[in-house]
Subunit: 202 residues, 2 copies
């Protein structure tokens, strides 16, 4: 099937949303933990985290200002900090449930029964269940002019990781860590065994 | 294990590169097809594609200016167009091989034996083997001030997709399409069966 830009624009909105949200390929999933200026905690699932660099360690994240993650964006703007908690296949259903439109005055940690923990004075909550947790400091926020989403650049301030999943050369085995991935808005999978290839030479 | 920003900065460079490149979670993999101003074709593997929006259909991509993908970035800047070809598990080794530092005057399509095809007058080559191919138009290029990488925003102009992998509601089954995912710089996996969850309600 060959779709032009015009064909894509004329698809029904729900059909286009399902198709285009999945068409970038398999995605990572994190629960983003934040705290409001009033001290209320928030947890929300994001599938829009991307590697930007290792030195300094930078990750990008896309946030829709008008969506369920609006509490997250407001809190990140207010405090300048957030956590990324990589979702495990043994708790992805709880993570998915954080995408429900809960009112502002209740914490998703309690509502979906996820454990909350802190690292020193770092001003955002981590998810106990996550084997890979990162404390992030916001460096830049760039509005995407075409659709009003925000691209956030953050630096890793804390990395809390289960030590036995890290190989000798530093590579973390996300299969051994029982990590989940996603496809589109609602598809989840368990990362299967991973094959590592040698560095490619001409 | 708990690593602070200072601990991460003091890791050896190869160790940090392996760790941080994988720490965003499972990633999509595409071969990016471009053509130079002189008409030479280029193919390069990228694991840094991210969904930015469905209407208009936008994808982001990260490019390191000083790396093997420099031919790709130069060509995108020069023509304003590129293709994304989602890597299948039956040809991911060929895709990986495009990351070798080949000289500028030879096309990776030939060198790694990938089929090349065009869609009308669209000025970038597609990979025959890919069941999901996208023709992209560059809209923005943003330099990341912290490390000199570029974040590119592109709009889908063409979507060429195997029809039988699309479900009734528009969701493409990337397991049925035998798509590959990756972890870090060198880890590959086949997308296993995907479980779809209903829309989350409070």
């Amino acid at each position: 099937m060959i779709l032009s830009a015009k064909d894509i624009a004329s698809l029904s909105k729900p059909y286009r949303t399902q198709l285009i949200n999945a068409i970038s390929g398999p995605k990572p999933i994190h629960v983003v933990g934040t705290i409001s200026a009033e001290g209320k905690t928030n947890a929300a699932i994001f599938s829009s985290i991307i590697h930007l660099g290792a030195d300094p360690p930078l990750l990008g994240m896309v946030s829709r200002p008008d969506s369920v993650d609006r509490h997250t964006l407001r809190n990140i703007r207010s405090t300048g900090f957030y956590t990324l908690n990589m979702v495990g296949f043994d708790w992805y259903k709880k993570a998915h449930q954080t995408s429900a439109r809960y009112p502002d005055d209740v914490s998703e940690f309690e509502l979906v029964d996820l454990g909350m923990t802190f690292q020193g004075v770092f001003p955002a909550p981590f998810v106990v269940e996550a084997d890979i947790k990162m404390g992030m400091k916001l460096l830049n926020e760039w509005p995407v002019p075409q659709n009003g989403t925000s691209f956030l650049i953050g630096q890793i301030e804390w990395l809390i990781i289960q030590e036995d999943i890290i190989c000798e050369d530093g590579w973390p085995d996300l299969h051994a860590a029982n990590v989940a991935g996603c496809v589109g808005l609602d598809g989840y999978f368990k990362i299967p065994e991973i094959i590592r290839l040698p560095y490619a030479k001409p």
